[in-house]
């Protein structure tokens, strides 16, 4: 899958020489693919005169690997998800943002004032947040879809037509919700049950694909597919019979954040870019494009009115809790890695 990231990695290698020299008026961004509108980057350049270079990745883990393998000192900012922010803080990969450095920090919405993954926003700012659940083609199956059974113990109509994200974190977090066990369990019986449950569930799955999670649903290749809410809204626009599920067992929540990388060659530009994204009208442009929530207050008037009523971002009363992916310690993670290998062997 991670083909796009591969191309990006090659591009990094090529630009390494060019960007290692610190220059005024430049910023090098490491960002998810298909996420930020080009017009917004152009607006940033025209307002500040700072020239933007951007490379993209397709998973938090791919970004971490690339930064660890020599990307540090190349990029100024990256956009890791919640759990990856805590990992990067733990690895000492993030620089601290001083008090008062960000003029627009006050725009952060009160409910996001003190996130668990970066208390007090010392290294990051909120970017976009949303959920990961799954969509079902209601033309194929018209029963109740708000249950994780659809993924792990599907009805006969859906067996063999399920696409999972090719991402250990997303799949195993959903599996933990399905069994009602902690995400970082140390209980052997629970772990064995998780391993066995996944072995049985795999027989019902057609494929693992993240890059084309939306495309397989739109084309009808898959009748069920794990997907992010905003991506799901785009999929529904192309195939009306798709419906985003909010399982009663719960679903995965995430928040992507712009972080200030240690050894950023253009630290001032990075701060300017973060301030730029803390302006409601600018972050609204990202939300309008990517169909996710923003984490700032005062965004409402700039948003596409349709966003407020998106079924993908308005869970029904029956929906279970939205949980962030947790970071396990090394010994526990080793067992989960083994379970994932067993799924894909």
């Amino acid at each position: 899958m991670h083909i796009f990231a591969k191309t990006a990695a090659a591009a990094v290698a090529l630009t390494l020489g060019a960007t290692s020299v610190s220059a005024e008026g430049k910023i090098v961004i490491y960002h998810w693919f298909e996420y930020i509108p080009q017009e917004l980057l152009d607006k940033f350049t025209s307002e500040t005169g700072i020239e933007v270079t951007m490379d993209t990745y397709d998973s938090n883990e791919a970004m971490l690997a690339s930064l660890k393998a020599g990307g540090m000192g190349t990029y100024d900012v990256a956009v890791p998800g919640d759990y990856m922010v805590s990992i990067m803080i733990g690895e000492g990969m993030l620089d601290e943002i001083g008090d008062g450095e960000l003029k627009n920090k006050g725009n952060i919405a009160p409910e996001w004032a003190d996130p668990s993954f970066d208390p007090g926003w010392k290294h990051s700012i909120p970017y976009q947040w949303g959920s990961t659940s799954f969509m079902v083609d209601t033309a194929v199956y018209d029963g109740d879809i708000d249950t994780t059974d659809i993924l792990f113990n599907p009805p006969a109509e859906l067996s063999g037509k399920i696409n999972m994200l090719d991402s250990q974190g997303e799949v195993l977090a959903m599996a933990a919700l399905h069994l009602g066990i902690p995400q970082c369990s140390a209980d052997r019986e629970q772990l064995k049950a998780l391993n066995d449950m996944l072995q049985n569930a795999k027989a019902h799955w057609a494929s693992f694909n993240s890059d084309t999670a939306k495309e397989v649903l739109v084309s009808g290749d898959a009748a069920v597919g794990q997907i992010y809410d905003g991506f799901g809204a785009k999929a529904r626009a192309e195939r009306g019979s798709l419906k985003y599920a909010f399982p009663t067992q719960g679903y995965v929540a995430w928040m992507d954040n712009v972080v200030l990388l240690k050894d950023a060659p253009n630290r001032d530009s990075a701060i300017a870019f973060m301030d730029f994204l803390l302006m409601p009208e600018n972050i609204a442009a990202v939300s309008n494009y990517a169909r996710y929530g923003s984490g700032l207050s005062g965004v409402g008037e700039y948003l596409d009115p349709e966003l407020a009523t998106l079924p993908e971002s308005n869970p029904p009363a029956t929906a279970g809790p939205a949980v962030f992916i947790e970071v396990c310690d090394e010994a526990t993670q080793a067992v989960y890695d083994q379970i994932w290998t067993n799924v894909k062997k």
Partner: protein, 310 residues
């Protein structure tokens, strides 16, 4: 082939004998920087201790190789057994690559033979036609193949329309789709070397065989194939080796349900596992396997050459 070229050029090469080492320097530099150094790095990394979430600690250990060959249960505290997981992943990849090679040979040989037996003027056109699709990036071609093969894709639509089938054939996300993808990706690597060999083949030999009452099948088996064998072996190597490490076809067409060698190694560096030494060890084992296979083929070739020139 290489031997003939070397003896032919020996008279001239004396002129440059003193400068030869210097003239080779660029090639050696390229080899060292792009081949030897990365492989040496992999070799070293495979014996280092893994760091949690990617990276290495500079302490010698055999843990990566141990993980490859031994299974200690889900929690790592059971007595060690032989671990078939990774061996099976390797076997699956070798089997896929072998099948793709065989398929490419079955289609590629007649194609090459056909082209080589056309009049000299039209041959270049045929070779040109073979290479045209390969001007497009492999990723794009693989994605296009996915569109063609899908349940509601043109292939199934066509078969349904002709009434040959009543329900769409499930091809996408199966091993058959991977086979089609690999075969399609690497076919020219089979056709071109065989074509080069067949083109040099002296067809008077086939006529002589026919005059001596050899059947067409016998002529092919005893005269043609032994003569063009270097091309066949080169073609097989050129298809087999890239198929072994392929990840595009297994991921996009096969559904990525099972690890292949390529995706297993990728997962160690870019996935959750973040186990660089294990990725390096798996790469070294793959490299060793490929080297053994190549050496075996090279010896076969050398023996064939000896038999051909008594």
């Amino acid at each position: 082939m290489a031997g003939a070229a070397a003896t032919g050029g020996s008279a001239r090469s004396n002129t440059y004998a003193s400068a030869r080492n210097w003239l080779l320097l660029p090639s050696w530099a390229v080899l060292c920087i792009f081949v030897l150094a990365p492989v040496a790095m992999m070799l070293v990394y495979s014996f280092l201790t893994k760091e949690f979430r990617g990276g290495v600690i500079w302490e010698f250990t055999l843990a990566a190789y141990d993980q490859f060959f031994f299974d200690r249960g889900l929690f790592g505290d059971e007595p060690a057994r032989i671990d078939w997981t990774y061996i099976l992943i390797f076997w699956r990849s070798i089997w896929q690559a072998g099948l793709a090679t065989l398929l490419a040979l079955l289609i590629g040989f007649p194609t090459a033979y056909f082209i080589a037996t056309r009049p000299a003027r039209t041959r270049t056109v045929w070779v040109f036609l073979i290479t045209i699709p390969y001007w497009v990036n492999l990723l794009i071609r693989t994605v296009s193949m996915k569109f063609l093969l899908r349940d509601q894709g043109p292939l199934n639509d066509f078969l349904l329309a002709t009434g040959l089938i009543d329900d769409p054939i499930r091809i996408i996300n199966t091993n058959a789709a991977v086979q089609i993808g690999l075969f399609y990706s690497y076919l020219p690597f089979m056709v071109l070397p065989i074509y080069a060999s067949v083109e040099r083949y002296n067809f008077a030999l086939s006529e002589a065989a026919a005059d001596l009452y050899a059947s067409k099948w016998t002529t092919l088996r005893r005269i043609v194939i032994p003569s063009v064998r270097p091309g066949i072996i080169a073609g097989c190597i050129l298809v087999f080796v890239p198929s072994l490490g392929a990840f595009l076809a297994p991921d996009l067409l096969g559904g990525a349900k099972n690890f292949m060698i390529g995706s297993l190694i990728e997962e160690q560096f870019k996935g959750n596992a973040g186990n660089w030494p294990f990725g390096a060890a798996a790469s070294m084992i793959l490299l060793t396997l490929v080297l053994v296979i190549l050496m075996f083929l090279a010896r076969q070739q050398a023996r064939a050459d000896r038999e051909a020139t008594p």
